[in-house]
């Protein structure tokens, strides 16, 4: 609660959306700048989808509207089977607050501009404050030459909506992030695996976050049924 005494800032501050990931928000001044487009990049199994789910559930819990766009042609039940194992996931979120959109078929049949319009229309219909596109990089494989222009148009349009969009990017184990997406986004979060073969550990690193004095360097994370992803530093 704010009283006039503590009420000293007259200038407009950046609005932020909490990520819902325990320990991460402390490293980014409380959350993602609103509106913005954030890239979550990592190789296979590093936790990108878990990150995205936790982020959406954080919004749904607060009564926000969310839009989950998959590019994988996965039927809802398939995604739900994995999503429902998490304690923070409430199936009733999918009644109205988290709207699921499968872009997979459209990617195969539509032109880039038509895809943009379909996304636009869905966003206008749902009016989400939180959007996820998971994984965005799949589009690149399908689209070929038009991909860079598509990414540019997509991120531009997304920034015009009042939402924070998390796009996930798959990379090879030796890559940090997909460079063609990185230049167009406001923030980059890396999910990393360490090199040790026996005790391979998972890390998160905030590489860039516009308008934000963010922590640098890797922080260990844990993935669990109870919390999804947590940043371990936060426990101490």
């Amino acid at each position: 609660m704010s009283t006039p005494d503590t009420c000293v800032r007259a200038r407009a501050e950046i609005v932020r959306l909490t990520s819902g990931i325990n320990g991460l928000d402390d490293s980014i001044e409380g959350g993602f700048p609103f509106p913005s487009v954030i890239l979550v990049a990592g190789s296979a199994g590093t936790g990108k989808t878990t990150f995205a789910m936790k982020y959406l559930c954080e919004g749904a819990k607060k009564g926000e509207q969310c839009l989950y766009i998959t590019t994988l042609s996965e039927p809802t039940q398939w995604m739900m089977r994995y999503a429902m194992q998490f304690d923070f996931m409430d199936p009733s979120y999918f009644d109205d607050q988290i709207v699921y959109m499968d872009l997979g078929d459209k990617l195969r049949t539509m032109k880039p501009n038509e895809i943009l319009n379909v996304i636009d229309e869905k966003i206008a219909e749902v009016m989400p404050t939180r959007i996820v596109i998971d994984p965005l990089t799949v589009i690149g494989n399908m689209m070929g030459g038009d991909y860079r222009q598509f990414l540019f148009d997509l991120t531009n349009r997304l920034k015009n909506w009042n939402a924070v969009t998390v796009v996930t990017g798959e990379v090879q184990p030796n890559e940090l992030y997909p460079t063609e997406i990185a230049y167009a986004v406001d923030g980059i979060i890396l999910l990393l695996l360490s090199d040790e073969v026996v005790t391979r550990r998972k890390y998160v690193e905030v590489l860039k976050m516009r308008g934000t004095n963010h922590a640098t360097g890797r922080q260990p994370i844990d993935i669990s049924r109870r919390e999804g992803i947590i940043v371990l530093k936060a426990r101490f």
Partner: protein, 223 residues
């Protein structure tokens, strides 16, 4: 729009109907400004013969127009005053008749322009002020990016004065109390009434709309 939106619209309409003249403060989360603006426009548009003005300082007015189209909200009778398009050089799709201000920092010129519409200005006024029933600003706190706090305060006072002296006008002022507490205090001193649209209200609305279904609730509020 889903059930929760309709429920929220009914809530806004119901609460606003008690105050048909002057400013009403709405405590709204910053992230919900666009949604609440749209729901207010929908609520107002369902009252026929109630023209109003929408002042865009946060995002070019064609975004709101696009959203209104998507949600079947009739823009008839609504005039847009756009302070951001020219400034942001974002004039695409601005085929709709909007009145452009040069920049959000020129907002202090708006009340005197409105005063001219009511008086004997040589230029044709974009609307008959006597018939104006509501006036909205998409995001007052955005004005703080381009104007001093003091100027915003003076503007709000002037804006409310000029409108209410010429007509019975509802002026919903959206402020995020938690985020912009000084602006909230300033707006509160101008507004005799307040409506809360905070997290608690939104969350309870999801629950209620899930539990009850929306049909009955909307009926009871429909005039």
């Amino acid at each position: 729009m889903n059930e929760k939106d309709l429920y929220l619209m009914a809530y806004l309409k119901d609460n606003l109907s008690a105050f048909d003249n002057g400013p009403v403060l709405l405590d709204v989360k910053s992230t919900q400004f666009v949604r609440v603006n749209l729901l207010l426009l929908k609520a107002f548009s369902s009252m026929p013969g109630r023209p109003g003005m929408f002042i865009a300082v946060d995002r070019p007015h064609h975004y709101m127009l696009h959203l209104m189209g998507m949600h079947q909200i009739d823009p008839q009778g609504l005039i847009f005053i756009d302070a951001i398009s020219r400034f942001a050089a974002d004039t695409k799709n601005s085929h709709s008749p909007a009145n452009l201000l040069n920049a959000p920092s020129n907002i202090d010129s708006l009340p005197s322009a409105i005063r001219d519409w009511a008086g004997n200005s040589p230029h044709p006024a974009p609307m008959d002020l006597q018939r104006c029933r509501f006036a909205m600003i998409d995001n007052i706190s955005s004005l703080l990016l381009y104007n001093s706090f003091n100027n915003v305060e003076v503007f709000l006072q002037d804006f409310i004065d000029v409108l209410t002296s010429h007509a019975r006008v509802q002026i919903p002022l959206l402020v995020d109390k938690e985020r912009n507490c000084m602006l909230y205090e300033a707006a509160r001193s101008l507004c005799p009434h307040e409506i809360s649209v905070n997290d608690g209200i939104l969350a309870s609305m999801s629950l209620t709309s899930k539990r009850n279904g929306i049909a009955r609730i909307v009926d009871s509020n429909e005039v």
